[in-house]
């Protein structure tokens, strides 16, 4: 049995008549990075806010770290570190002073907690630079330092690479990856950038208009979107027989009445075409396809896809 660190059951959020999140069931496994992928306004932040108690749940349930969070916030939240939207700090204080405030409020016992957190994200300890003078990348890193300050088991990071330059994105991505692989943290991360999620996440939940369209491991998704031969023919049953009996192909899927996908791309298509013609099957087209994850997301979200 899987031990889920986060499990939502028919989680729903309505603002008046508008449904922002609709009966979402997400399952975040221990020690893995779960990427919540969707366009801006898809409902990612609302889900995270509901998990963190920042916005009330309309209906449904949330279990975090094996407990239903309702009424157990004081026990559960100290075990979570989070960044929601932009990391907020006091502009008149330095990064160290800001973290010291949060450490005091959390009752963080470790004497070097602030220094260690700053070291992990590569920010200087006891630097005189005020938060108001920080670059966006430094602000995001300080946000991550604050989220890991108390060594939480679970991290909830809402678009942590938002607004960063490519180098900053790579640096933050590496922090997050290290937190999971080296420190064993479970991470729920949201993004509207497909490539980010593809590089980071072990599991993916695709959300669109508040509905979770798919939840799967990244490995499965990648497998689903590998190379294949798209064959369009006049008779699918006869084609299936030819493929299975004459060529021993079983790794194929029927798309509709006239097309199927063959996942063994090393198949001799000239021989297949010849065999089909002999069986009186008209071959309309035969082409090698290579769908990307983006094509797949476009297809399942029914729209423009994600950057």
């Amino acid at each position: 049995m899987c031990s889920y660190v986060i499990e939502t059951k028919r989680l729903t959020k309505k603002y008046g008549e508008q449904t922002a999140v609709n009966a979402v069931n997400i399952h975040v496994e221990k020690g893995r990075i779960y990427g919540l992928l969707g366009r801006n306004g898809a409902g990612k932040t609302t889900i995270m806010k509901m998990i963190l108690g920042l916005t009330p749940v309309t209906s449904g349930e949330i279990d975090v770290l094996g407990q239903n969070i309702k009424g157990r916030e004081k026990r559960v939240y100290p075990r979570i570190g989070a960044i929601i939207e932009t990391p907020g700090f006091y502009p008149n204080l330095t990064g160290t002073e800001n973290l010291e405030i949060f450490a005091k409020l959390r009752g963080t016992a470790a004497p070097n907690a602030v220094k260690n957190a700053l070291d992990i994200v590569g920010l200087p300890y006891r630097d005189k630079k005020l938060f108001s003078k920080y670059s966006l990348g430094m602000k995001q890193r300080l946000g991550i330092a604050n989220a890991i300050l108390h060594d939480p088991e679970l991290l909830i990071l809402d678009e942590p690479t938002n607004g960063l330059d490519p180098i900053g994105i790579a640096v933050v991505r590496d922090f997050i990856k290290d937190l999971s692989t080296e420190r064993g943290k479970t991470i729920l991360i949201s993004s509207h950038i497909l490539s980010e999620i593809a590089l980071l996440a072990d599991d993916v939940g695709i959300i669109d208009h508040g509905v979770l369209l798919e939840e799967n491991s990244m490995e499965t998704l990648k497998r689903k979107n590998s190379k294949y031969i798209l064959l369009q023919v006049s008779d699918i049953p006869k084609t299936s027989l030819v493929l299975e009996r004459q060529f021993g192909v079983t790794d194929y899927s029927v798309q509709d009445d006239h097309s199927l996908r063959i996942y063994n791309t090393s198949l001799d298509m000239a021989a297949v075409n010849k065999a089909l013609v002999v069986q009186d099957v008209a071959v309309i087209s035969s082409q090698l396809c290579n769908d990307t994850l983006e094509d797949y997301f476009k297809k399942i979200t029914g729209g423009e896809g994600i950057a």
């Binding site: 932009t86 990391p87 700090f89 409020l105």
Partner: protein, 255 residues
């Protein structure tokens, strides 16, 4: 205590606090300057009570309520503006804890400004000289008056602090501070027992003998009908209602 301490830490390097203390010092210096320029034979400045009540009046009649209203608004609004509120709530710090810690900081600020003016009065009294009644007893009376003002004015400002928790900007609570003060300036005696700030004025004469003269000049020698008990109960009742509705409003607010 930790949360109150961290509230104070947040004000490090904040120029607003320095500005408030400088303006308070200027108001105190105005009173001392009058003490230096008016003869001790004049009934206007013939006792130490005249000096400290003048300084007290300068501080508490308009300046302190305005400053506390603005300060409280900033305390609540800046957490939203800087996006720090979400970070605090997921620690988790409860909204009620957050509210009471900010109220504590407002009270500390008020007491700090009153203590600062009190010290200016003593030093100013010694500099101006000629106060034959400047002794432990009158200093104690002055101390009690400043302590009462420092503690009661924040309570009287709780309805404004409620607006600060309710609103999403500076304009409503700061505008309300000015509207809140106008009736007290115009008809203080009639509002004692009704309006929290006027009620505070009704309590002062019962704390320090020198404050009787101050209250008379405040009310234009009008007869004060409200008893100190009525004023205290009214002040307390409005304060408690304001606290309850503020906490309810904060609990319902989403971020």
């Amino acid at each position: 205590m930790t949360i109150i301490f961290t509230e104070i830490l947040k004000w490090k390097r904040n120029k607003t606090v320095w500005g408030i203390f400088i303006l308070t010092a200027i108001l105190g210096v105005f009173a001392v300057e009058r003490a230096c320029n008016i003869s001790r034979s004049s009934p206007l400045m013939d006792s130490f009570g005249d000096l400290y009540t003048l300084a007290f009046k300068n501080l508490t009649s308009l300046f302190l309520p305005i400053v506390l209203g603005m300060f409280a608004t900033t305390l609540f609004f800046d957490e939203q503006k800087n996006d720090t509120l979400k970070g605090l709530l997921i620690i988790p710090v409860s909204k009620a804890q957050l509210y009471f810690s900010k109220i504590a900081v407002v009270i500390l600020m008020s007491l700090g400004l009153c203590l600062f003016t009190f010290v200016i009065c003593i030093v100013g009294g010694l500099i101006a000289g000629g106060f034959t009644d400047l002794n432990t007893e009158t200093i104690l009376q002055a101390g009690l008056l400043f302590l009462a003002g420092g503690a009661l004015i924040p309570v009287a400002m709780l309805p404004i602090i409620f607006l600060a928790t309710l609103s999403k900007g500076y304009i409503l609570p700061i505008g309300a501070v000015l509207l809140y003060l106008v009736p007290v300036v115009l008809v203080p005696s009639q509002l004692m027992g009704l309006h929290p700030l006027a009620s505070v004025m009704g309590i002062y004469p019962h704390i320090s003998p020198a404050a009787i003269e101050m209250a008379n000049s405040w009310t234009g020698n009008a007869v004060i009908t409200a008893s100190p008990m009525t004023c205290s109960v009214s002040l307390l009742a409005i304060g408690i209602i304001s606290i309850i509705v503020s906490v309810i409003v904060l609990q319902k607010k989403t971020f």
